[in-house]
Each structure stands twice: as structure tokens, then as C-alpha cells.
Symmetry: C2
């Protein structure tokens, strides 16, 4: 069997070099005498892996050593609940930027815990754009503003790190480490690993030290970020962290986040150029809100979209179907998506269009 | 590098055949054109893996298709909180059998949520035994009795499934699928995968249909078992489930749970016979409460224990150190631990003892 060009929205493509290294170490990791899946989370080997991963996060993101870097579980979905449980406490308020279904999911969980408010929403246009910064209604003294940096389903993305008066809490699941981030603007950032940085089953949570101090006492132990910040509380998702560490080394070897950003812009640019130069393909996201991770577009009819996706799969271009709630075509071009995949996609788009005569 | 004899308490040893199969599929899983780590959790391939795993659980455990079989995250530790959140509600009570630090962890979380009571405890003897059934103080009409089927740290184990008047909720993390289970006695059973059935990062939760119905509304979405029972709510730990499915197939091919039980008793019996026949080694657990998963024993001095563990490691017998809270030696001999490993351990015990003159 051969590897195909993988445009899956997540779990998504990983660097081939990472998989090859993991393959070679599957039965025996270095001097461990066992697979990484079989060693204690308190072993010297796993401790070194986790420390290396944390060190690489600090280096790539330019954050100081007093940030907490946590390898949790439960995906971004658990963070939707856990973040407000820790930070939307007492009489405080929190603002939410509603830029998609996942952002709304986070907002709905916060509503069950406290005074969560909508700063702005693009639901009126089916989340096809990011509301202009000038339109955001921010609550003075809010505990945080929650943003979703990239909206996987609709193909929109914050084009830069917003400037607001309060710390931001960011769901960065689908564009984490795809570009440099002004981390000082954030109190907390979380990302399910399965898009850009590893396999499903680990959630990376970064918490700024002064933000961590705001957590009240009395929370359930496992849902209190301080539990994990202070020690290795329970068994982490060892193998997922092991893969993440390899992906971080791969990103660093490629040149870090600026290089990734340029690479991602180049790849997405190829597809957007094709869309913009065509009357056949129509982009879904507003031009000023486009994602360079998830490229969403439509064809003249749903029937043609079905044919397009099926014919593409036949050519080894897999997982191009749009999210079931949005329809259309979606090409997810994460960090590890090679340029050859994108070139093949554009070539296929040309070919498919020309066939329609 | 060579694989060693692995006595790690968890994450623990996996069947070599499982790892070899995973290795061969690492770059490309069947016709997926990608690693299992890179495919959508809604893909045909992952759906088939999860369905096969569920079907094997049903077959091995003899449970009907209306049991919920959930692949969650957060380890047993999250279940310590989640189980009472779902089932210790309103004015109800729940009883807890305190047979170790993890059992106590579960009890402590339940205490924060409702009227949790201690049915019996072996803390008076440092959890070296399972309290006799006749000593258990059970609350009439309790929502459940929580038991820990095997106590990893101390090396004790319930010798059979207890009979009580209420459904049991069981933390089976460290002996799950090591023996046949009378599932009809349980309302719910949960297990972190990383001991007997897979890698860290997945928690298998089994809920009986009539027990599931008792969950009240208004719980946080991700922490409500019904959320996961009714649909694939969010991205599961795909790769961990993939490994679990292979382990289940391995167990079935070996002959199922009765065969596993006989195999585990045989392995543990070799070590216990050595302990019982020696004045040099001393078992920690009371004879009637011994675990066939985690065998704990002491040597005459802590200095000798340190020498024993170090010398054993030099002979390729790894991870024999007891839990940091208990000291001594612990040999974890899970399902996948080969008989050769146990024979090598007994041989080493003989050798080490004879050297002391």
C-alpha cells in the first residue's frame, strides 16, 4: 500500500520522518528495552521525552520557563469546560468571540458556569468571516476573552494575535505552531494535538504564571490546572507526547515557526490563487478571514462536489470532503502537508475544471 | 538494542505480536493511505477498528450489546470524579471499599460531591489485605458500592467478584481482562488502558444500560456518560483504541479470559512459590489477598533490595522497584508478560539469594 496525499481535517497528516522514526523505535526505544508504550511515565526515558518537548515549546514559542506546559487529555472539548471552571469564577465575567461551532461549544460550556458574554459573532453569515476587531463588545475587567484562532469547519482564521485589555484564552487546536504567536497576549492557550502537532489523545495546555495564580481553591483535583502544573499527577498520554516531541524537533529542524508560517502561506496561496482565478471554484471564507490551514470552497453544484471528491480520492487525494455541517470541499493543509500534495491538488482542480467544458 | 523482561507496573508490557503488527502498519494502515494516527475518527477505517474493539469486549466479557462501551480519556483519575458526578446525585449515598491509595483517591473525589461512605478499609495494615466480605458495612439503598479490583501498589486483589445488594462501580485498571468477570454484578466498570489492555491515554468505561438511565440531566456535556454513549461526540484517542483492538484480538486468539486467568495464576504462582519457600524473601500482601498481577515482596534489608533491583536490571529484568510509597520489590506480571520473563525472575531470585551465603 502507498501513502496518499492526506487532506484530513484531523486527525491529520504527520511528518513522514516522524512516523519513520517512531516505526524504527516501536519494539525498542533507545536503551529502554521496551516500546515507549510500555515504559513507566516516571522512567528516565519518558521524563527526558517530556522535558525535551517542554523545552522545544518554550524555544519555538519564546515563552519563559515559568509558563506551565501541560500534557492533558480529553481534547479541546474538555478545555471548553475546564478553562471557565478555573478562570470564570466568583462574580467575574468572560467574553467569547463566536467564530464557529467549536467557539460556540466553548461558550455554551462557560455559560453553565458563570457570566459568559458574546463579544462578537459571525453566525449571521454562517461563520464565513472573523468579525472586525472594532465591532467587538468587550466587558471591562473581564477575566479573559476566549478566541478560537482557526475555525476548522469554515476555513477562517485570526490573521494576527488581537490586542485587547485582558488576557486571552485561545483554542489553537487547528493552527497551533503554524505561525509565530505573541504569547504575552494570552493567559492560556490550548490545543488538541491531532491537527498540527501529533496524534489524537493529548491536549497541550499552556498557562502563564500570573494567570495560573488566579485559580481558586476547591476545584476537583484532576480539573485544576495547578494539580498538573505542580507535579506529574497521574499517567499522561505517554505515546502521544512522544510523537509530539518528534514533531516539535521536526518543526525546529525546518526553521521554526516563521519558516512554518511562510511555508503554510505558500501552500495555501497556491490553492487560493487557483480559486480566485476561476469562475468554477468559489471560496467559502471571506477573503480577509481566510485560513491557511483549512481551505474551504464550493463547486457550482453539490453533485459536482461529490464527483470532485470521489475523483480526487481516485487520484490519491484523500479526505477532501467538507465538514458534514458545512458541505462543499475542504483541503486541510497543516504543517506536515507537503507542497507536492498541494501542487497535486491544484493540478487536479485544473484538470477537473477543464473536463466540465 | 534488545527487548528486556519488563515488569513495569504501568504503562506495562504489551504483546510483542501487537507491537510488530503496529510497526508494520505505522506508515500506511491497510488501504487508508496514511498511518492510523493521521486518519479521521469518522473514517471507515477507524469506525471499523472501534466497532471491532467493542465487539471483542462484548464477546470476551459476555455482555449484551446494550452495554455502553466508551473510549474516554483522562485515566482512572478522571473517573474518580466522573463516576460520582453521574451516579452519586441528589440525596443518594455511595459506599467505598478502601483497599489502597487509588481507592482512597476515588473516595476523596466522591466526598466532594455527595454522601460517600467507607464500607471497609485495610489502611490499618498499610493496605496489605482485602477486608473480609463479612466486615463490610453497606448502606441500604446505596447508589453503588465502589471497589478497586486490584491494588497495584500493594499487590492485593479481590479474589472473586463480590456479591452485594447494589450495583458495583469498579476500578479495574490493573487487572482488567486478566480473568473472567461476572459483569452482571456491576453497574459500571472502568480501566485505564495502560496496564493490561493498551497504551496510556485511553480509559475504557463500560456502563450497564439500566445504570446509564440513572444519570440526571444538567451535567457538563463531556463529563456525562450519555454524551459518549449516544454518539461519537469528539475526537477519541484513535491510536490507543487501535492498539487496544489488537490486544483484544490477541487475548481472544490465546483463548479468552479463562485462559488468561490460568496463565496469570501459573505465572504468579511461580513467584509466590519461590517467596513462600524462602526465608530470604517475604511477601507483602496477606496470602488470601494476593494479586496475580502485581507481586510485592521484601528482602531482609532496604540495602539488599536496592542491590537486588539494580542487579536484576543488569540481567535484563527491568522495572522491579516497588512503588515509591511502598518500597520493596514489585514484579508486575500482566497478561502480556511472557512466562520466560517470570522464569528468569525466579532464577534470578534463586541466584541472588544463594549469593548471600
Amino acid at each position: 500500500m502507498e501513502r496518499k496525499f492526506n487532506f484530513s481535517a484531523g486527525p491529520g497528516v504527520l511528518p513522514l520522518e516522524v512516523l519513520e522514526e517512531a516505526q524504527s523505535e516501536m519494539l525498542c526505544y533507545k536503551d529502554a528495552g521496551a516500546s515507549v508504550m510500555e515504559i513507566s511515565h516516571r522512567s528516565a526515558q519518558y521524563t527526558a521525552i517530556a522535558e525535551s518537548a517542554r523545552s522545544l515549546f518554550r524555544e519555538l514559542l519564546g515563552i519563559s520557563s515559568d509558563w506551565s506546559i501541560l500534557f492533558l487529555q480529553g481534547g479541546a472539548s474538555l478545555q471548553f469546560y475546564q478553562a471557565p471552571l478555573n478562570f470564570l469564577t466568583g462574580q467575574s465575567t468572560a467574553d467569547y468571540l463566536l467564530t464557529g461551532a467549536w467557539a460556540d461549544g466553548a461558550y455554551q460550556q462557560a455559560l453553565t458556569l458563570g457570566d459568559a458574554r458574546v463579544a462578537a459573532s459571525s453566525e449571521d453569515q454562517n461563520f464565513s468571516y472573523i468579525p472586525e476587531r472594532s465591532s467587538w463588545k468587550l466587558s471591562p475587567g473581564a477575566s479573559y476573552l476566549h478566541v478560537t484562532s482557526n475555525n476548522t469547519i469554515y476555513g477562517t482564521q485570526l490573521q494576527s494575535d488581537p490586542t485587547v485589555d485582558v488576557p486571552m484564552v485561545c483554542d489553537a487546536s487547528s493552527d497551533f505552531l503554524s505561525r509565530p504567536i505573541e504569547m504575552e497576549k494570552y493567559g492560556m492557550m490550548y490545543a488538541g494535538a491531532q491537527k498540527n502537532i501529533g496524534p489524537a489523545g493529548a491536549t497541550v495546555v499552556l498557562v502563564r504564571p500570573d494567570f495560573l495564580e488566579k485559580i481558586p481553591s476547591g476545584l476537583p483535583a484532576l480539573l485544576d490546572y495547578r494539580t498538573h502544573a505542580s507535579k506529574l499527577y497521574h499517567t499522561p498520554p505517554v505515546y502521544a507526547v512522544y510523537i509530539i516531541e518528534k514533531v516539535l524537533r521536526w518543526i525546529k529542524a525546518k526553521g521554526g515557526l516563521s519558516t512554518m508560517h511562510a511555508f503554510n502561506n505558500k501552500k495555501a496561496g497556491l490553492v487560493y490563487s487557483k480559486i480566485d482565478g476561476s469562475d468554477f471554484y468559489r471560496g467559502v471564507a471571506r477573503t480577509d478571514s481566510r485560513s491557511n490551514m483549512n481551505i474551504t470552497f464550493r463547486l457550482p453544484t453539490e453533485e459536482l462536489e461529490g464527483q470532485f471528491i470521489k475523483a480526487a480520492a481516485g487520484e490519491g487525494l484523500m479526505s477532501l470532503k467538507g465538514h458534514r455541517s458545512a458541505g462543499g470541499v475542504r483541503a486541510s493543509v497543516y504543517n506536515a502537508c507537503p507542497i507536492e500534495a498541494v501542487e497535486a491538488l491544484v493540478q487536479f482542480m485544473n484538470h477537473f475544471e477543464s473536463k466540465q467544458g
